[in-house]
């Protein structure tokens, strides 16, 4: 406020009084404006901006000093008003101050008296404004603190990880909503501070107390099982700025899914190892027999043995390549090159390729690719589709005994074009059908023991179908046969036309 000269408005209906005051005040460096009555003063207040002090006569035409006090306070509640009055009675003075005037100056007054009053008034106003600013600042801070606290609390309770804080004595001083979900026993009365032992999790107690007692900024971690879930618990000390340990904070993260994944992964590796070992064992034994002559010397039998070893080696190679494809799909390294494709052509090529194999087994392989309307082209990767169809036809021929038949049909409904491979083969039980897309799952019975397979073909088929946003359906009856139907989106449907 020292930056600019204080502004003073002098309101009096007497010109002599107005000008006299102006001269005295202007000489002291104040910026002075004048008005001839209350209404003119209000007008000045509105047009010329605020004034630090208003010096006003009480008796004026149109609007007097008393009314001006009230009107001014509506505009500026901190407006400071000094009343000049010739009728300087105690009554009017009290009345004026009651209405909000800061003080009064009885007429007549000397320039020094006027200046003294103005200076006091200005000082008073400055203090009043400063106090108000401080009060506002404090209120704002309080609000901020309250908001920050509620923000932290909200965030803490919205966390998916459980948070537990214990003090040096091992009493629970804070727990968030997630912790109450993980440990329902600790959800009751939020005001009580139960012993951490009450949680009945000795491992957790040991962990947090170890951190509390370490008296050093250590981090302790442990996997803890709670019910059917596994949690990774990380505990750290809560330190004062001085470095003193106040307690410990533990965060519980649910890693059940990760643990399951870990188990699935190691089971998968075991399965792969076993599936690789079985054909190798047969190949090894076959070679062994032929090379050592342990089973006698029969060239024809040796040739058969080598033939079987070769077949198993081929299966092994297919297994490795299926496995690589599956892994590529799982890791996202397998990308489809989609284009307009004719499912009929792909199916026909595949069926033709299997004609000899089917004939060898005396299995009739029939293709039906002529619907009432032309079959809609699909948007697909031809190589992937070839792999899908080959797997289905190969399985159908493999699992259909001599004299049976395999029927392949292509049809569509405009949205999807479908290939159905139906055989009169050995079929599957509902339980077998449910697992047929699992990796390494093979239906095992006296028939399948003689059929080489990797247990990965259909797992691969399903993934390729999924990648095309298609669907695969299986219908099967033991002893009667199976039907696999793969539906792939047409170009029209896939492109939204």
């Amino acid at each position: 406020m020292a930056d600019r000269p204080s502004r003073i408005l002098v309101v009096d209906d007497e010109v002599g009084m107005r000008e006299g005051c102006r001269r005295i005040l202007a000489a002291e460096g104040y910026e002075v404006e004048t008005a001839e009555d209350g209404l003119a003063a209000l007008e000045k207040f509105k047009t010329a901006g605020g004034f630090d002090v208003v010096i006003s006569d009480l008796k004026m035409p149109r609007m007097g000093g008393m009314d001006l006090i009230e009107a001014l306070h509506v505009i500026d509640e901190d407006a400071l008003l000094l009343v000049i009055t010739a009728y300087a009675t105690i009554d009017t003075a009290v009345d004026a101050t009651k209405r909000g005037a800061y003080g009064y100056i009885p007429k007549p007054f000397t320039p020094d008296e006027l200046l003294l009053h103005v200076r006091n008034g200005l000082e008073k106003r400055a203090l009043r404004i400063e106090a108000k600013a401080l009060r506002e600042e404090r209120e704002r801070r309080l609000l901020e603190v309250a908001f920050e606290r509620s923000k932290s609390t909200t965030i803490l309770h919205c966390m998916t990880d459980g948070v537990l804080v214990v003090n040096r004595e091992g009493r629970i001083v804070l727990r968030n909503a997630a912790l109450s979900r993980i440990l329902p026993s600790c959800a009751e009365d939020p005001l009580s501070a139960p012993e951490v032992e009450a949680l009945e999790l000795p491992e957790l107690v040991t962990l947090v107390m170890e951190v509390v007692q370490a008296d050093a900024p250590i981090i302790a971690s442990k996997e803890i099982s709670i019910g059917s879930c596994t949690y990774m618990v990380n505990a750290a000390p809560v330190l004062e700025p001085s470095g003193e340990t106040l307690g410990a904070v533990a965060v519980l993260r649910d890693i059940t899914a990760l643990k399951k994944l870990e188990i699935a992964k190691s089971m998968f590796v075991s399965m792969v190892a076993h599936e690789l070992k079985s054909p190798l064992a047969t190949i090894e034994s076959s070679l062994n027999i032929v090379l050592t002559g342990i089973a006698g010397d029969d060239p024809e039998r040796d040739r058969q043995m080598m033939q079987r070893a070769l077949l198993r080696a081929t299966t092994l190679r297919t297994l490795v390549s299926d496995l690589l494809n599956l892994t590529a799909i799982e890791t996202g390294n397998f990308s489809l090159k989609r284009q307009h494709a004719d499912l009929c052509i792909i199916v026909r090529e595949t069926v033709d390729a299997y004609a000899d194999k089917a004939a060898e087994k005396n299995v009739t392989l029939h293709l039906e690719c002529t619907g009432p309307a032309p079959i809609d082209p699909i948007l697909a990767d031809p190589n992937a589709v070839r792999s899908i169809v080959t797997n289905l036809v190969d399985n159908a021929v493999k699992y259909t005994p001599n004299g049976g038949h395999v029927n392949v049909r292509v049809d569509g409904n405009g949205l999807y074009t479908r290939v159905v491979v139906k055989d009169s083969g050995i079929g599957m039980t509902p339980a077998e059908r449910d697992r047929v897309f699992d990796e390494f799952y093979r239906v095992k019975n006296d028939y399948t023991a003689h059929v080489p397979g990797t247990g990965l073909g259909l797992a691969l088929v399903r993934r390729l179908v999924d990648m095309h946003q298609g669907r695969i359906d299986v219908d099967s009856t033991p002893g009667k046969g199976s039907a696999f139907a793969v539906s792939l989106p047409t170009v029209a449907y896939a492109t939204g036309m």
């Binding site: 090894e284 027999i289 342990i294 058969q304 019975n445």
Partner: protein, 127 residues
């Protein structure tokens, strides 16, 4: 060998059965085969073999174990010596040893078993 000994091979791998059959037949054994646990039990009762060689992991991880216990419970088959051939020890995280109740077999061999090793085991038990 005074008379012809009969061996039943139970394994879901037909090729492995063929290999072992070749070796055993060349040494004068009569060989029959089954490719699943239930079929093995039927063959064991019908053929009354002098010895059974069986695989653990067939349709289920424990099909061989189940068959071994079923054979031991049946009066007609409980005296037949059993050799279990398997790679189960490499696929499950714990080791198996023959024991009277859970794994009532005479020999427990790790796959792959060299044909001569299997032959030696069979000769050892049947001589």
């Amino acid at each position: 060998m005074s008379d012809v000994k009969k061996v039943l091979l139970v394994d879901d791998d037909a090729n492995l059965v063929a290999v072992n059959r070749a070796v055993l037949e060349s040494r004068g054994y009569t060989v029959t085969a089954a490719h699943s646990g239930p079929a093995g039990l039927v063959k064991a009762k019908a053929d009354a073999p002098d010895l059974i060689v069986l695989d653990v992991m067939m349709g289920t991880n424990s099909e061989g174990f189940d068959l071994a216990r079923a054979l031991r419970k049946d009066d007609a088959t409980k005296a037949i010596p059993l050799i279990m051939v398997t790679s189960v020890n490499t696929t499950v995280p714990f080791k198996f040893e023959p024991d009277a109740t859970y794994l009532p077999v005479d020999r427990f061999l790790e796959k792959p078993v060299a044909p001569e090793a299997l032959l030696a085991e069979i000769q050892g038990i049947l001589s």
